[in-house]
Symmetry: C2
Subunit: 275 residues, 2 copies
Amino acid sequence: MNRKQLIEQIKIKKSFLCVGLDTDIELIPKFLLDFEDPVLEFNKRIIDATHDLCVAYKPNSAFYESRGIAGWKSLIDTSNYIPETCLGIIDAKRGDIGNTSTMYAKAFFDHASSGMSFDAITIAPYMGSDSVKPFLAFEDKWVILLALTSNEGGKDFQFIDTENGRLFENVIQKANSWAGNDRMMYVVGATRAEEFLNIRKFAPDHFLLVPGVGAQGGSLQEVCKYGLSESCGLLVNSSRSIIFASSGEDFAERAREEAKKLQSEMEILLEEIGF
Amino acid sequence: MNRKQLIEQIKIKKSFLCVGLDTDIELIPKFLLDFEDPVLEFNKRIIDATHDLCVAYKPNSAFYESRGIAGWKSLIDTSNYIPETCLGIIDAKRGDIGNTSTMYAKAFFDHASSGMSFDAITIAPYMGSDSVKPFLAFEDKWVILLALTSNEGGKDFQFIDTENGRLFENVIQKANSWAGNDRMMYVVGATRAEEFLNIRKFAPDHFLLVPGVGAQGGSLQEVCKYGLSESCGLLVNSSRSIIFASSGEDFAERAREEAKKLQSEMEILLEEIGF
């Protein structure tokens, strides 16, 4: 899904919601454990219940890897279930030297090689340009680079002062020279709403992937106040507060209700900026 | 394998060699493709041929993930084939917010959960302390934090000047407060030999995992000149120049010869410092 198609979906659905599929098998409703692949079954029902309210799904790779082969199989089958009207983001936070990053790109972008073809992948910036560029070699795929993360430890290095602003600002400025806003997004945590204004100086119309709304305490209103751009420019992720809204048989309906609440808020926010 | 046991193995084998199992299925001898799991067969023969000459094996996760489920299975079976006399390092360069890092730790440290129980994992530092600590919660396991990587792009951010030295020096100083040299190692590329002297100021007796000798152009002599510590303190990795020394039926013997060359050099270097 390219930038134009993504913006189109945002207009159609009046939503810039990303649903995080952090599917912890310990937390899904017990009755699903009778299915051959409980995690896949859970994800399919979540997707069926929410795909008209969101524009992206983001499985976090860790929750699948923790279960070994069974988990990897759930991830592959989930990736193939994400509908074409939604951006498929693998939250993998990879990054390695060039020839190795190419292998990671094949793992998540090249269906013939791995069985998966996500539209986008999250990447850690520490190893620099040649760890990122192999992902950009895949046409029409996105790199979503970690800039300012929502966790407490994000402060340890990301806020360090450098000659070109703080480290996360330096990362954005440098990465802007690797690809344009049609191939690159940045991760900016919702728990740092006051920083969005600042980040928009360096990335005025890039899409920002924003985790941390909901369970982590970030506010959608605050994020949008400073973060919305001309082309919307935000994908706001919510994971636990949607997918684990209920642990009963009604989990999918309850997930839909939670997604609907966020989508309704987003609709108003988009109207306010005349999008 | 704890620090004492690792140092013991270095003394017994007169070696601080780590063999990188970057097993690209495109590069292994063609006759292996008749086996049920060609990559596993390749790795087993490499391990059989070299385990008395090296103290660690390091599969890079990317080469396995690129092959989807088949690759993940090769990785699990390889992890279980690494002998107890060698440190099993998964080169995965992970890192995420706390509860998610716990899932990554389960993926690579918790056999009951994932089928794998490596001794050590490489971690990217960008997300800070709470992305690293969940791995340290697993007793007797090691975190190997990226500090100064061997690739060209490593310069993009790692050399940035901060109030506490360059970024990679800052990373080492901060990470020293998260765990001692019995639980934490640092990745320092062999292509930056001149920096070892400097790094030893901050990590005088930590083990450093050193990629980049061989195919990437780093020199073992140079690395040891500045990098060897009282307790050896180095694990020097070589991947392609050992495992792909031959593409014929003699690949394992040729791998042994290459490993033996490095081990012999290491034996002399260890003698020189009276280890």
